[in-house]
Amino acid sequence: MSNNWTVEKSNYFSEVLDESAPAHSLDYLIRVCGSTAEDIEFSVTGTEKFKAHFGNIFGYFKIVRDTLKEVILSQKRSLEYHGVYNAFLMGQTSEIEFTKIAKKFTYKPKSISAKILSSKINVLFNITEIDYSPSELADLFHCNINDVTTAIQLMPGSKSLGDSQ
């Protein structure tokens, strides 16, 4: 081992996570580590394996980001609706006026696949550790309560959920 090695710039590996890059039959990543030139160790891994590992992480965080975005937008809408509803309760708006405004907040329940909904609920539970009720979840994800109950039953067992209560 000579000490005059140069560290390649990170863009040398840029094609590792580039889907459009051509596939090679021989494609490995080599890790070189050590504190001195004498104790350097090499480890080798297949590029595809490496890519799949990071692909899974990015995939998971995309679900997390999308779920949180959906929940935050939904909560904001609910807050606005509560403001309007409070005004109605206090008699500041008539029922006709309130019904007109409420129509702007109305949604038609989406039909989401039970599997996708289940992963969203799982993500939300793992992040917040809040035991949302099925009706709250239906309100958050704009879907039917029956779809929520089906999705919850597809979730991993309660043991994996920890003990937040």
Partner: protein, 129 residues
């Protein structure tokens, strides 16, 4: 008749609701009824009583619902909806406790909600069986 079992539901033309926590949810179009509904969730000592039966006395939303007058459901949380905005609320005092009383004047559905964990445990129990 007072019912406390989870998933019990009532339907009525006029329903009396009582709770100490009332959360309205976003209105939505119900595919079964085909109209706009105003969902809600009641918490902390909540109950719902059929004050006036449906005419004709037929299920509109859930076939398992109880339609008889004076049927009362009690639960930790009750979810449901009315087809008109719920407004007439009164605060009542019973001894040291206060509660909110709501009388609906339109078709109302109320249901004792099953909790998140109870639902998961139900699944596990069913698996064991």
């Amino acid at each position: 008749m007072i019912l406390t079992e989870i998933c019990t539901s009532i339907e009525g033309k006029k329903v009396f609701l009582q709770c100490r926590q009332f959360n309205p949810f976003l209105p939505r179009i119900d595919p079964k009824l085909g109209c706009l509904i105003y969902p809600f969730k009641m918490g902390v000592s909540s109950k719902a009583i059929v004050e006036e039966e449906l005419n004709p006395k037929k299920h509109k939303f859930r076939v398992e619902s109880i339609l008889d007058k004076d049927t009362c459901i009690k639960g930790e949380t009750i979810d449901g909806f009315a087809i008109k905005p719920v407004k007439e609320t009164k605060i009542i005092h019973t001894g040291a406790h206060r509660g909110r009383v709501i009388n609906t004047n339109c078709f109302t559905f109320a249901h004792i909600e099953i909790g998140f964990r109870a639902l998961l445990q139900k699944k596990e129990k069913e698996k064991k069986k």
